[in-house]
């Protein structure tokens, strides 16, 4: 192997590949070697598609040599896919025993679009079972480790996605974000994680956790690569009627065009800077705010008064939807089935008790409870009303500012087992991210430094509905002015 290609950005790789300066086969082989080298430590990958990845690379090379058809914007870029996104290739297990060995008969829309953009699917990555969790400890497959500190969790639920990008085992990963599941692990692993506006990216082929909150988003080393990926995977899909028919710009081009002339009023929500926020994290966030100020941003304080109700609201709505979404895993048609049942009811009960892990069962029970006759008004209906108030908070805040900035997570990555015994504490890990899902807004986490103990911290930018262009431009502006890179995880 002459040169390694991991560590390069997607735009670099695709440029080299398009210009025939490097063979995509060489690129892919280099990443496969990297996975071989580091994934024994990280355990991000649940499936490594070596042969398939090389085969994709060879057909891409052929296409480029022939020079007939246009080459896509992610040409030769290795991408990993979260286990919750359906691929015809391999398995789609949602990191659950109940779907162990399950093969999807179709590709998710985002997967189709990646393939059309000539991206290379290199394998699938670990997650919390059915995307329920904040540490990837709820995976039924294995634990994934934080590349910055192997004793710490990578965050979750897209922990495998974040770890695989952070450890440079791939360039881009697709995750899903229901309450922070892309942004929080990105923050923990020191990479960029984008949660697009609800409706920007098709959910067709994303195994549903909470349909009104779920959104697929990219994780990458830098803002530009997430922007490019959003241009590839976004846009209206007739198979998802909640996806929106709005113009989808070439984000990387727009960012480059806008970055020099952008004006910024940055809102700091006072409810995000309370004693719940870790001091070190707070310092790093404020340092980032000063960098933005230096770039001409006007800093204003804003208020999101209903923030304190966000966690409760979120756990009513997401569990209610999950209780219905996960009802189909019953052992009748596919997946795990308890054998030797006496009747259908026993088969259902045993299949679901043995097939689902404890956190998933907890949420199904909660969701079933809040929808029950007599409790619906007190819980689900009330939660929907509070959801509206939380959304209005943001609308009002955006009267005063163009973008909201704050921490992605109240703490840096925590140690394995630290929060598994206390689900409530685990839920609070998403306190700054879930309001964004409840309000359907776009947001991005960008690394803003390391703690004393060498753990990354993420800075969250929250934008207006469908204005990813502005959001990404501000994030990019911050990224290029962040100053000295804090380097790569100490894996060697």
């Amino acid at each position: 192997m002459s040169e390694y290609w991991w560590g390069r950005s997607a735009s670099e790789i695709s440029e080299y590949v398009k210009n025939k300066e490097i063979s995509p086969v060489e690129v892919v082989q280099s990443f496969l070697d990297r996975i071989q080298q580091v994934d024994t430590k990280i355990d991000a990958f649940t499936q490594i598609w070596s042969d398939y990845a090389l085969q994709q690379a060879r057909s891409l090379e052929e296409k480029i040599v022939k020079g007939k058809s246009p080459v896509g914007p992610l040409a030769g870029v290795p991408v990993s896919i979260k286990e919750v996104i359906c691929t015809q290739r391999g398995f789609t297990t949602c990191a659950s025993k109940i779907l162990a060995g399950y093969r999807s008969p179709y590709d998710a829309t985002v997967v189709e679009r990646l393939l059309n953009a000539d991206a290379i699917l290199i394998g699938k990555v670990n997650m919390d079972e059915f995307a329920m969790g904040s540490s990837t400890e709820n995976s039924s497959i294995k634990l994934t480790r934080n590349p910055w500190n192997l004793e710490c969790v990578p965050g979750g639920s897209s922990g495998g996605s974040a770890a695989s990008v952070s450890a440079e085992e791939c360039v881009i990963s697709l995750g899903s974000d229901t309450g922070g599941s892309v942004r929080q692990p990105a923050s923990f692993c020191g990479c960029v994680g984008l949660k697009p506006t609800y409706g920007r990216v098709s959910r067709y082929g994303l195994v549903a956790f909470a349909s009104s909150l779920d959104q697929i988003g990219p994780l990458s080393k830098n803002v530009m690569d997430s922007a490019t990926t959003l241009s590839v995977i976004g846009g209206r899909d007739p198979r998802d009627t909640t996806s929106v028919d709005m113009p989808l710009p070439d984000y990387s081009e727009r960012i480059r065009k806008n970055v020099d002339t952008i004006s910024m009023r940055i809102g700091l929500p006072k409810e995000y800077f309370t004693e719940d926020l870790n001091e070190e994290v707070k310092e790093l966030i404020m340092k980032a705010v000063r960098i933005l100020e230096k770039q001409g941003a006007e800093i204003v304080e804003v208020s999101l008064p209903h923030t304190e109700f966000a966690v409760a609201t979120y756990y009513i709505i997401c569990t209610a939807e999950a209780s219905a979404n996960l009802a189909r895993f019953d052992g009748v048609r596919y997946g795990f089935r308890h054998v030797d049942s006496k009747n259908i009811i026993e088969m259902y009960k045993c299949t679901r008790s043995e097939g689902f892990g404890p956190e998933v069962q907890r949420r199904i029970l909660l969701g079933t409870y809040v929808l029950s006759s007599g409790y619906y008004d007190a819980y689900y209906l009330k939660a929907q009303k509070v959801r509206k108030l939380i959304t209005q908070d943001f609308e009002e805040a955006f009267q005063k500012c163009d973008v909201i900035v704050g921490p992605t997570s109240p703490t840096p990555a925590f140690r394995f087992g630290e929060k598994t015994q206390n689900p409530l504490e685990m839920y609070l890990s998403d306190i700054y991210t879930i309001s964004v899902n409840l309000s359907a807004l776009p947001a991005i986490s960008v690394p803003c430094g390391l703690t004393q103990s060498g753990l990354p911290v993420g800075l969250q930018f929250i934008g207006k509905h469908f204005d990813e262009e502005y959001l990404l431009t501000v994030a990019y502006l911050y990224e290029i002015n962040r100053g000295q890179e804090f380097g790569n995880p100490p894996l060697e």
Binding site: I85, T92, G205, A208, S211, T241, A324, A327, R328
Partner: protein
């Protein structure tokens, strides 16, 4: 104490769109099991529903025909319950905001008009079909029906007898057939009627405890089940007992209803808004578009047939019983045939031929053009009415036009006076004794001579001329 029965109906109608309610699979009913399926209607992980616009169009048409208001803003909901024929273990249905609401249908019972109020008509999806007779201890599930569009029509408890229920169901079925929105086949399950039945003291405003009768495969079955159930409830009350609220099935062999599920074990369906589908917004424009595609409805058409064509109520009823029949009739009249003659020919002669051959008017080889031609041939004395009936049978068998058949078989009526006179003369001369008896008062023998003449002419002689000339000859 006199009792009256109080009955409300819930009717499930399979809407005959080409594709299913939420995916593009075919709704073809007769395909081999599990061939009309895709990840969406199988409830595979990751799939999303997409509402079929044609389904909504047809549901709006039914709503308008039932005088319902159409919701400008409605939504789909999830109805949660576990059953193997329900692949997602929830059914996409409508809960608190149905597409159609507050309608009514007028029915005629014993010469009186009765208004049956419609509470709602809402969109939902059908389930798969379980079979338990596969052997080997296995049950099978056929998902071809999974996701087929259903419209559930719910009435107020306005019906007071099984007869009213029968008329209501018949009128409703006719309406649905006119709108061409459903096959309305109860045996195949494309129309399913459930009755909520209770009894109370006559004249009371209170509602008694109701039972719900499900899974009846025909209108007559519904009628019988209601009659049985009303009697059963009255007997319980008269003997001092209390009716239990429950779901009851119908056993057509034994002619009884039987308990299926008590209220205590009733499901909590945990309805909540379907987050995978955006709310359904129906504009006034959309409603108008549907209105324009709607045909004239049976009750209006019946009235018009009486006024425009001078038909009796009975004839109008029969001729509008199906849209195909009514269209057939109007086409015949439009071709210039006399309206009353047309009514007679279609209702009596054509129907008897069709019934004899076990065919329906839909695939009748006899066209309105054929009927109109026959009527005009009789009117112009080209053939007799009796011959015309024979010709009709031949048209049915060969598909040839009446004119062709008449020409080929030489069936044109003999109207030449001299030709008929010669035959009459010959027949009378050949039968002198009968002629003598007739003249001495045995009038009945007139028919004997007519018969001989008709046999001689193979029925082609103009009957009126035969009558006149025979009388003349015999009275000489």
């Amino acid at each position: 104490m006199e009792f009256e029965s109080v009955i409300g109906m819930e009717v499930h109608v399979e809407i005959n769109t080409r594709s299913k309610a939420f995916c593009s699979c075919s709704t073809n009913f007769h395909a081999p099991p599990n061939t009309q399926v895709c990840p969406v209607c199988l409830g595979m992980p990751g799939v999303l529903p997409v509402l079929n616009r044609e389904f909504v169009n047809k549901a709006i048409a039914v709503g308008l025909a039932l005088n319902c208001s159409i919701a400008k803003w409605s939504k789909m909901d999830r109805k949660n319950y576990f059953y193997p024929d329900l692949p997602k273990n929830y059914q996409i249905s409508q809960y608190d905001l149905p597409l159609c609401y507050d309608g009514y249908m007028n029915i005629e019972v014993k010469g009186k008009t009765k208004r049956v109020r419609v509470l709602r008509a809402h969109l939902e999806e059908d389930t798969a079909r379980n079979t338990h007779d596969l052997g080997g201890g296995y049950s099978g599930i056929d998902f071809n029906r999974s996701g087929v569009p259903l419209l559930e029509i719910v009435t107020y408890p306005d019906l007071r007898s099984s007869e009213e229920v029968f008329v209501f169901l018949t009128e409703l079925k006719q309406l649905l057939e006119y709108l061409e929105v459903s096959d309305c086949n109860m045996e195949e399950g494309s129309l399913r009627a459930e009755a909520n039945v209770s009894v109370r003291e006559e004249g009371s405003d209170l509602l008694g405890v109701k039972t719900e009768i499900k899974n009846v495969a025909s209108f007559s079955g519904v009628v019988k089940a209601i009659e049985y159930e009303v009697e059963r409830q009255i007997q319980i009350i008269q003997s001092g007992g209390k009716v239990v609220q429950e779901t009851r099935g119908w056993d057509p062999d034994r002619g009884i209803t039987f308990s299926q599920r008590h209220k205590e074990s009733a499901h909590d369906y945990r309805y909540f808004p379907e987050p995978d589908l955006v709310p359904l917004a129906v504009s006034e424009e959309w409603i108008q578009q549907v209105k324009q595609t709607m045909p004239e409805l049976p009750q209006t058409r019946r009235k018009r047939f009486q006024e425009e064509y001078g038909l009796s109520l009975y004839d109008a009823h029969v001729l509008t019983s199906t849209k195909i029949m009514a269209d057939y009739y109007e086409k015949t009249v439009q071709l210039g045939a006399d309206p009353k003659q047309s009514a007679n020919w279609i209702q009596v002669e054509l129907q008897s031929v069709l019934a004899y051959e076990n065919r329906s008017i839909e695939n009748s080889p006899v066209t309105p053009e054929h009927i109109a031609q026959l009527i005009s041939l009789v009117k112009d004395d080209v053939i007799s009415g009796k011959i015309a009936k024979e010709v009709l049978r031949k048209v049915f068998k060969t598909g040839k036009s009446p004119e062709e058949i008449i020409k080929e078989e030489g069936l044109v009526q003999i109207t030449d006076v001299e030709v008929i006179r010669a035959i009459v003369k010959r027949i009378v001369e050949k039968n002198p004794s009968q002629a003598e008896q007739y003249r001495s008062g045995k009038d009945k023998l007139f028919g004997f001579f007519v018969g001989l003449i008709m046999r001689e002419t193979q029925g082609k002689a103009n009957p009126k001329l035969v009558n006149d000339l025979l009388k003349e000859e015999l009275n000489k």
